[in-house]
Assembly symmetry: C2
Homo-oligomer: 218 residues x 2
């Protein structure tokens, strides 16, 4: 029913609604939203109908009410705490990135095996020894983790995360991870994202598929 693609669209609707709301709009029609996100109006309505979201015939959707519903569906009413494993390039960039906090995602800590990276200063995201991942995650009810280690270490880190009760993973290591227990792994491969573009440019197909939103994609 609700597959990943559909959820990504809901998240995009949510983001577009945020912008519209902050611009002072009060209501929105399916085709405004469609245009903001780059899909068709019937796609928007289908998605909403799938989740029992309804608006007013001829009146569109009330933005505030719609945002409220989407936030509820998407689990955005409570702040989500996340850990990162790997304090290298990607991990460090994610820690500094402001985009997460804006969306109610709190990066609670980062873990690394390199003592040179350890760091614990008030107001900053702490970088802790990897051995502490399990206790920390248990103590703080962390359910979501980001893997930002080299591919060679990724599988081990995943196993450690799973044993720490983490069930949702964003994996930046360019390797297929094998999971025994039930979990949700979202692989993000930065090089692949670039290589995809290279393919379409080298093969001169930029007209055929003008714009693609990942994932749609993925």
């Amino acid at each position: 029913m609700a597959n990943k693609k559909c959820i990504i669209r809901l998240l995009r609707y949510k983001n577009a609604l945020h912008r519209l709301h902050s611009l002072g709009f009060v209501k929105v029609f399916s085709d405004n939203l469609a245009d903001a996100v780059g899909v068709t109006a019937s796609q928007v309505r289908k998605d909403f109908s799938l989740f029992g979201i309804c608006g007013n015939k001829r009146g569109g959707y009330q933005i505030e009410a719609l945002l409220e519903k989407l936030n509820h569906i998407l689990g955005k009413n409570e702040q989500q705490k996340v850990v990162i494993v790997g304090g290298g390039n990607i991990g460090a960039a994610l820690m500094k990135y402001k985009g997460f906090e804006k969306e109610g995602v709190k990066i609670a800590a980062c873990f690394d095996i390199d003592p040179a990276k350890y760091h614990h200063k008030e107001g900053d995201i702490p970088v802790l020894p990897l051995e502490e991942l399990k206790n920390f995650s248990r103590a703080n009810h962390i359910r979501i983790g980001i893997i930002a280690v080299p591919d060679i270490a990724a599988q081990q880190v995943l196993d450690l995360m799973l044993s720490a009760g983490i069930k949702g993973i964003v994996n930046f290591a360019p390797i297929r991870l094998r999971a025994s227990s039930d979990c949700f792994i979202n692989n993000v491969n930065l090089v692949l994202e670039l290589e995809t573009v290279i393919y379409f440019i080298v093969n001169g197909l930029e007209k055929s598929i003008a714009e693609i939103h990942e994932e749609q994609k993925s």
Copy 2:
């Protein structure tokens, strides 16, 4: 015919073949490859047949020949030069990331508006004033660019890139970009990738869709 999802799979096959090759394997069967990438064997064969790649009945595929063909299709026989606009968190992390070079992608330069970031040292990726983007791209035949600026600036940067002859874009800004001319835009939204995982965890659906490879994000 060849959509983004299919290309992403080809890229994954290529990566898996690299690994197999470096482990000393000479030939591979569709189901080995399928397993390495997390798809079905018939998907592998279908993908190959779409590109006229054929193996030997009963003998599988010769890894070297297959890699050669895939690299050709994927435009990996020539090194691709890429520019980044935005030397902030994400831009800086991408510059330091080793994964691109490994895959024959050369980050030729980064551009920013902040003079404090300018930097030109032998052996390092230079960070140049944004005004130079156009000349640089023209002079170096750059066709691919990465947008790593805040969302508010992204549309302007895109327009500048297009005017500089760049047609393939990886966009990290969390905003829908509008393109007049024909180009290929691949949107990568890091927050969205995390929020997707949050949805599945909060809604306890990790069993239903155990693992998804992004396109399958996107």
